[in-house]
Every structure is written in structure tokens, then in C-alpha cells.
């Protein structure tokens, strides 16, 4: 793979992949960093096999999703490391930081497939794109998106009640 192409891809997709990994790993920036690195190593390794049958962004999302979902095997300490929600380390404004913190706490309570789906929803991907990334039908995506949004909303409401 040519270095300049990779540099462009890295610069363009780093934030997207980072957000996805950070959400998946329940706000643990250390794990997210490791995973982002892993995702882009795979992108570099596999770019020559990329057949162009899908768009580059779909392909990168697929790699990120697959790397996250199969993290169990690579790091045996996975469960103990992400068992508890970790507060994200960001320098953004306080309100936004609190919102992100709350959202990470909600997402942290979902299981792995739902967390992946949530990340794709939060990136504003269309149902068609999500279906292409996960390999399920658009109808199935629609149902799952509806369910996961409900779950998230319920978790959020429960947290609100608890904080009163």
C-alpha cells in the first residue's frame, strides 16, 4: 500500500475509528488507543486485498467492528479491563463532557453486539450502510436500531431516576 494513500485514510478515518473504539470499550481511552492502532495495522496489511466491492468507509467500519468484536481472543484480560465503565479523558467543554460521560455510561451497559450497533447509529450511518457492515438485512437493522434506541433510552431514564 502506498504511504500517501494510507496517510490520507489515517487522517480521515482516525476520529471515526477512535470514537467507535472508545464507545465499544466503555470509554477506556487506553483500550481504544490499542484497538485503533490494531484497526489501522489491519487496514495497511489488507489494503491490497480490498476489492473495491464496497466503499472505503464501509470497509474500514467493517474492520473496526470485526476487530472490536474479536478482541476477546486477542486480549484475555479483556473482561477485567473493561468490566467497569471508565470515565473518558477529554478536554472538551463541561456540558459536552458530561453528556459524553452519560452516554458512555449508558452504552457501557449494553452487550457487545448492541454496543457495536449503537456506535454505528451514533455515526449517523444509514440503515443500508449498517446492513452492509454487519451483514444483515436492512429490515433486521431497522428492528435492531429501534430496539437498541429503546434500550438506551430506558437505561438513560433509569440513570436519571437514580441520580435524583
Amino acid at each position: 500500500m502506498e504511504q500517501d494513500i494510507f496517510q490520507t485514510i489515517y487522517a480521515q478515518y482516525y476520529p471515526v475509528v477512535y470514537r467507535l473504539c472508545l464507545g465499544y470499550f466503555k470509554g477506556d481511552s487506553g483500550l481504544a488507543d490499542d484497538m485503533v492502532q490494531e484497526v489501522f495495522i489491519r487496514v495497511w496489511e489488507k489494503y491490497n486485498y480490498f476489492k473495491g466491492e464496497s466503499q472505503v468507509n464501509t470497509w474500514i467500519y467493517r474492520i473496526a467492528v470485526n476487530c472490536c468484536l474479536t478482541e476477546i481472543r486477542r486480549k484475555k484480560s479483556y473482561e477485567t479491563r473493561v468490566l467497569r465503565y471508565q470515565e473518558p479523558e477529554t478536554d472538551s467543554a463541561e456540558k459536552q463532557q458530561n453528556d459524553q460521560k452519560t452516554l458512555h455510561q449508558c452504552i457501557a451497559q449494553l452487550n457487545e453486539p448492541d454496543r457495536v450497533l449503537t456506535m454505528l447509529i451514533l455515526e449517523d450511518l444509514s440503515h443500508q450502510d449498517i446492513a452492509r457492515i454487519l451483514g444483515i438485512t436492512e429490515v433486521n437493522v431497522r428492528v435492531k436500531v429501534h430496539r437498541v434506541k429503546e434500550k438506551l433510552h430506558r437505561i438513560y431514564q433509569d440513570m436519571e431516576v437514580e441520580s435524583l
Partner: protein, 197 residues
């Protein structure tokens, strides 16, 4: 829009820390990983290959035409050759896994790969190891008739010690690997299934 929806819509605006590595670092790491993996693979095959070669050279150097000798040494060489072949084939299968395909297919292929590894660690290892030991046992009468009594006893005793140690370590390693593989297969299968429900 309620507060929850606002929160969701703000997701993409969150501050992203600057990357810990730049693109050049990543390409360097990727290249290193490819080289390390190649070296490890070559080393495994080299160890088995050299053992196999030593056996072949030993067989040629003795010039023995005895069918018992050919059967014994043949079994040992076949067991090693089989192991080398399967390890090579397995690594080729791993390379064929496409991390860029959709999650459902990737998980299914990965589970299939791990199930195949389970078979290699389980029954296949037992078969190849048994073939190797059988080959050694078949050679014993030849050793007995051609070597001094003391040296023959030494071969028997050291053979048993090596055999018992190997069984202990291989079994321990295989059990650990099988536990990990079973856990991984269960986890990945349940994730794959949940996408389809």
C-alpha cells in the same frame, strides 16, 4: 428534541485526542508484525523440518533395507511431515480470513477456523503423536539387535522419560488452548447469532 436526543446528536462533536501514533508509525508496526509472524512461522516449520531431515539422513546413512526399519522410520517421518503440512495449511487458512468482510460472515469464518484449530489440537495431535511413538516402538527390535545392551537400555529409559515429559507438556498446553478456543467459540457464536435474531 429531548435531552437524550441532544446528547446522541452531540456524539460526533466530542473532542478526539490526537493520535498516539502517526501513519508512518503504524506502517512500521504493520511491517514488523508481518516480518515477526513470518519468522515465527518459518521457525516452527524449520524445527519440525530439521527433525524430519535428520530422520531421513539417519535412514539413508544406515543403508538398512529391513522392512521393519523402513516402516518405523517411515512412520516417524510421516508423523512430522503431516504435522508440518497441517501447520502450513492452517496458517494459510488464517491468512485467507478477510477482516474486511461483513461482521456476520467474518464471525462465522473465524468460528470455523477456531473449530478447525480445535480438531488440530485434539484428535489430530493425538494421531500424529501416536504415529511418531509407534514408529519409535517399531524401531526398538532393530536397536536391540544392532546396539549394545547398555546403549539399548539407555535408549529405552531416555525414550520413556522424553515420552512422558512430552505427553505431560503437550497435554497441558493443549488443554489450555482448548479451554481458550471453547470460550472464544462460544462468545463469538453467540455474538454472530445475536446479529441474526
Amino acid at each position: 428534541m429531548n435531552e437524550f436526543d441532544n446528547m446522541i446528536s452531540g456524539w460526533k462533536n466530542q473532542a478526539i485526542p490526537s493520535a498516539a501514533n502517526n501513519a508512518t508509525d503504524i506502517t512500521r508496526m504493520a511491517q514488523k508484525r508481518i516480518n515477526d509472524s513470518r519468522k515465527k512461522h518459518v521457525a516452527t516449520i524449520a524445527v519440525l523440518g530439521i527433525t524430519c531431515l535428520v530422520l531421513v539422513l539417519f535412514a539413508i546413512s544406515t543403508g538398512t533395507q529391513s522392512s521393519l526399519f523402513i516402516a518405523g522410520i517411515g512412520l516417524m517421518i510421516s508423523a512430522l511431515a503431516l504435522r508440518i503440512g497441517v501447520e502450513w495449511w492452517s496458517s494459510e487458512q488464517l491468512k485467507k480470513l478477510d477482516v474486511g468482510e461483513n461482521a456476520s460472515s467474518y464471525l462465522k469464518h473465524l468460528v470455523g477456523f477456531y473449530q478447525m484449530r480445535k480438531k488440530i489440537h485434539g484428535s489430530f495431535t493425538v494421531i500424529t503423536f501416536s504415529l511418531y511413538v509407534l514408529g519409535f516402538v517399531v524401531l526398538l527390535p532393530i536397536f536391540k539387535s544392532n546396539l549394545s545392551h547398555g546403549f539399548f537400555i539407555y535408549i529405552i529409559v531416555s525414550g520413556i522419560v522424553i515420552l512422558v515429559s512430552l505427553i505431560y507438556f503437550i497435554r497441558k498446553k493443549i488443554n489450555e488452548e482448548l479451554i481458550n478456543l471453547n470460550l472464544t467459540i462460544t462468545e463469538l457464536s453467540s455474538i454472530a447469532e445475536s446479529f441474526e435474531v
